[in-house]
Amino acid sequence: MAAADVIFLVISIIAVGAAALAVTRKNPIYSALFMMVTLLVVAAVFQMLSSPFLAVMQVLLYAGAIMVLFTFVIMLLSLRPEEMGETAPLPQRIFAAVVALGVFALLAFPAIEPGVPAAAASLAPPAAEAVRFPPAAGTGDGATVEFGATAYFGHTIFGRFVLPFELVSILVLAAVVAVMVLAKRDLSKRDVADDGSDRDPPPLSVSAAHAGSIASLATSTQPTSHGPGA
């Protein structure tokens, strides 16, 4: 077994173990902690697949920003045990298990079915594209445009996939605006004054888009005490 295989095995065990801990913890803040561990280890997997840029973005956005927001919301809600609802009934849990296994089978299928990787490979950009990129301006990475590097990502997203990229950003913008409209109680009232009477922090743009899902996650996690001493 090569060294890379050993490392992959170790980080896979950590990733799956932390993910299992994340869904079984009764305390939502521990779920968040183990979810963060999972995300960090997945970043290591990206690094092993020679995608350092993706790995760093995984740490920056998921582990560094989104999970901090999750912990922020969990701390802010500070739910008492009776506010968290009851444990889900058995049929619901069985249904959830079936759905999870189905998703797992769907994801595992390409790994065991030999035809799928070949089909996926045909969708990948031709290798010659890597050398077609113009060198970056200034003293940049022009000479070192390789798969997974920052420059490769930039050229691919803003060149080949610029339209899907812009569509996704418009979708995210629409979600942010929608959450703003839903969260604001009275749109006609202007509640921002310069004398500091508006003590609410302005909504966080990214957090706004995730606020709904975060809140539902925080409440749907296994109910129990919220604080360490409660």
């Binding site: 902690l33 740490v59 582990a63 901090v68 701390m75 966080l204 360490p228």
Partner: protein
């Protein structure tokens, strides 16, 4: 190879573990000077041994864990705040070459993005520390700090985008080399180096503001403002756990200052130095230049803390979302337009 590792880790260790006690002493002396006091002057000549006395005192203090605290999170929180700050320093080029030895711990092709990603993990230390204490003031501090760090990370990333566009790279050592040329071919600007601060003054101001906010330093020391929150997120901490938080804060300050020096102040280069000279003497000289710039920025940090009053929390948030972010976005647009026009 082994020498390069030894030198790199030696300087890395000195900067991340040796500098904080010296900084604490400098901070107390400078604060005393600014406030017309004497400062520490009892332990050793000019009070120079005060940091060592403090460290020994902290080591021998009783390590108290509050009864209602979450023991596991309470213990790992100081580590979570200490490690990211030191780790991010790895990508800083603190010198050019000393012979064969590259004076940088890690040369990553994601460069500066690695530092921002790792620094963003520092929020967990404060968040978990405040929450695990099971006490009202630390919890308030943790909630405040999470929101503040997330907000200012956005500005920091946007300011960095403008710098990455300017240099055309994310690699820190290439950024330093890009600043080692004159600002202009001819005219009065030919005497200035092409440092980031001259090329992107707006991004520089935004980045420095973010550094203060990310380090929870005055005027942004919301998570620990003693007038409102007793001691903030580390109210319940004592002994070395408290000291780790304290040291983490100073290492984060050093790392941020090193980032400012590398991105905006020319890194280890000073006008007149030959970047192709890889001799040992030149290598030591580049380290000294880097250290001088670093200490200058650290002095600025301390100077600002003891000069400006603290923001109110809503002012912190308004400055970020209604002040800094629009300016940063406009700055990126202007940088892009100039880049297209002059390329």
């Amino acid at each position: 190879m082994i020498w390069s590792l030894l030198v790199a880790f030696g300087v890395f260790f000195i900067l991340t573990n040796g500098l904080p006690p010296a900084l604490v002493y400098a901070e107390r002396k400078l604060a005393a000077g600014i406030q017309n006091r004497v400062g520490p002057n009892r332990v050793g000549p000019y009070g120079l041994l005060q940091p060592i006395a403090d460290a020994i005192k902290l080591l021998f203090k009783e390590d108290v864990t509050p009864r209602g605290a979450d023991k596991f999170l309470f213990s790992i929180a100081p580590i979570l705040s200490f490690v990211p700050a030191a780790l991010a320093f790895a990508i800083i080029p603190f010198g050019n070459y000393a012979g064969e030895v590259r004076l940088q711990v890690a040369d990553l092709n994601v460069g500066i993005l690695f530092a921002t990603a790792i620094i963003s993990l520092g929020a967990y230390g404060i968040a978990f520390g405040g929450w695990a204490s099971n006490s009202k003031f630390p919890l308030l501090a943790a909630v405040r700090s999470s929101a503040q760090l997330i907000s200012y990370e956005v500005v920091m990333a946007l300011a960095l985008v403008a710098m990455i566009m300017t240099y055309g790279t994310v690699r820190t050592e290439v950024m330093v080399l890009a600043q080692a040329v004159p600002l202009a071919e001819t005219g009065p600007f030919a005497y200035l180096p092409a440092w980031g601060v001259f090329q992107q003054p707006i991004a520089f101001v935004l980045f420095v503001i973010c550094c203060f906010a990310e380090n929870n330093r005055a005027p942004f020391d919301m998570p620990e403002c003693e007038a409102e929150l007793v001691g903030g997120y580390h109210t319940e901490y004592s002994s070395m756990k408290f000291a780790l938080f304290f040291q983490g804060e100073y290492i984060a300050m050093t790392t941020m200052s090193a980032l400012i020096v590398t991105i905006f102040l020319g890194g280890w280069h000073f006008p007149g130095m030959d970047v192709a000279d890889h001799s040992v003497g030149m290598g030591i000289l580049t380290i000294l230049v880097f250290m001088a710039k670093l200490l200058g920025v650290l002095f600025f940090y301390i100077w600002v803390r003891w000069t400006l009053p603290r923001f109110r929390y809503d002012q912190v948030m308004r400055l970020c979302w209604k002040g800094c972010i629009p300016i940063a976005l406009v700055n990126i647009a202007i940088t892009g337009i100039i880049g297209v026009l002059y390329s």
